[in-house]
Amino acid sequence: MINRLVAAALPVTLVTAAIIAAWYVAAVSLNSEWAEKQAERAGTELTWRELIAETMSQERPRLAAPHQVMTELWDTVVNKKITSKRSLVFHGRITLSATILGFVIGTALGILLAVGIVHNRAMDLGVMPWAIASQAIPILALAPMIIVVLYSIGLSGLLPKAVISAYLSFFPVVVGMVAGLRSPESMDMDLLDTYAANRWQIFWKLRLPASMPFLFASLKVGVAASLVGAIVGELPTGAVAGLGARLLAGSYYGQTIQIWSALLAAAALAAMLVGLIGLAQKITLSRMGLAG
């Protein structure tokens, strides 16, 4: 058991260690220029050790060193009250609520569209090209429009962000569910035909259960896209709150450490959401005898 745990953890640990090492090397080389200039102005000469130490303790480094980001993360996640505007948990919760609402809307829309596409020829021909075209537009260009249009009809706050989030997350669900609902083989369909099953029964007894593995794969992609959508949706709102606002504020004031810690928080949030869906997938599929 312990051996297996070690065997499973070893590759991850090695890769993480390699990334951190590369990160430090990059931090030293990117930040040394500024440190040397500072020393020159002060008329002092830096030794090797001093130079390296300098590159890792700047207030606004070009590339924040990992321990600086970790310290900032610890400070803003653990040490601040979660009601404080300086708490990453405060901002994370705002982004998370938009992500989840957007994900739910996007998933529902994606499933509905997929059901329509599979059952209706006109929708099959008419909807899919539009769905694909919708994803060809850069969301960064579209997000401000959505915010402005929704604001003009009196909608602001959570919902516009959720709409952008849904805009990104419905697509993988449509694509996955169309494939999933069409995955039964012709023999499986013929069998239900011999029982004179109607379309409704074919959907519930065959198409939907057969699509489950496809659905979960899509949901994993969809939830990550939802998070991206929610963050992008926070950028044009004038940097009020949320991880996106935190990123924007950080870049206004050159707070690279703050940017990196917000980025890492977003990545951790994405990993957690994908992990939760993976868990739901495992439970559902093993109950269905489809141990996947």
């Binding site: 023999m187 499986d188 013929d190 035909d193 011999t194 029982y195 099953a197 029964q201 259960p209 005898g289």
Partner: protein
């Protein structure tokens, strides 16, 4: 004839493919009587499976007429006239064995109590008691095919249409299932239409053997079997059995085949 359950008259079935028209069935005339065990045998492309699919209303004939219990095939289907067993067991992997057998009963809206009673009875009939809560992948190929037969028997259709149900199984399992199928047929008195490409299987199981040949798919001979109803596996060594098998083989050879 009053007790004819499946009646095909000058039946034609053509498919359009990229290579032009394919005549799957040409001028097929066949009467299957109540309680008969009729095998359709022939090389691939002879239309034996197509014939079964027309009976099941999975294909629409392009000419001639076919009735099942005096009805059009699609009417007969709605009247639950037949159960169909496919080449592969085709069990839904997310359903347990019992839930797979229950599937037609759910679709036909039997009430819960009757569903459970019927599932129990047919699972017992095919010898799968104790495996109700297993998933299909936990069962051998032969057991899966028995479950699919139970599924076709779960509602009281008088006709059982079987499309090479044992084709993918090894010979030992196939012998065993052939014996069980015969005993099931004698106990239930169903009418069975059975597609196969195995001469011993056809002769062992059937009252009548319909020999078909390809291009176009048609019936070239119908051979009556005078073997007794009670058939131990050893009957296959008897001179009577060998004589019938020889006639089937000669008719198959005369019909020609694609290879």
């Amino acid at each position: 004839m009053a007790d004819t359950v499946i009646k095909a008259t000058d039946l034609n079935l053509a498919f359009s493919t990229d290579d032009g028209q394919v005549e799957a069935l040409r001028d097929v005339n066949l009467d299957i009587r109540k309680g008969e065990f009729v095998s359709l045998i022939g090389p691939s492309g002879c239309g034996k499976t197509s014939f079964l699919r027309v009976v099941a209303a999975l294909e629409s004939p392009t000419g001639g007429a076919l009735t099942v219990n005096g009805m059009r095939p699609d009417e007969a289907r709605r009247a639950r006239a037949y159960g169909y067993v496919f080449q592969a067991a085709g069990l839904y992997p997310w359903r347990t064995i019992a839930a797979n057998v229950r599937l037609p009963l759910e679709i036909m809206r039997y009430d819960r109590e009757e569903r459970n009673e019927r599932v129990r009875r047919v699972i017992d009939l095919v010898g799968l008691s104790g495996f109700e809560n297993r998933f299909p992948w936990q069962l051998s190929g032969g057991m899966q095919q028995r479950a699919s037969i139970a599924r076709a028997l779960a509602f009281d259709a008088d006709i059982l249409l079987m499309d090479e149900p044992f084709g993918a199984l090894d010979e030992i399992v196939r012998d065993h299932l052939n014996e069980q199928l015969l005993s099931l047929w004698r106990r239930t008195g169903k009418t069975i239409g059975f597609v196969t490409h195995s001469i011993p299987e056809a002769v062992y199981l059937s009252n009548r053997i319909v020999v078909m040949s390809p291009r176009p798919g048609r019936i070239t001979a119908i051979i009556e079997s005078d073997l007794p109803d009670e058939r131990p596996l050893e009957i296959r060594d008897s001179p009577e059995f060998i004589a019938i098998a020889r006639r089937v083989r000669q008719e198959l050879r005369a019909g020609g085949f694609d290879d």
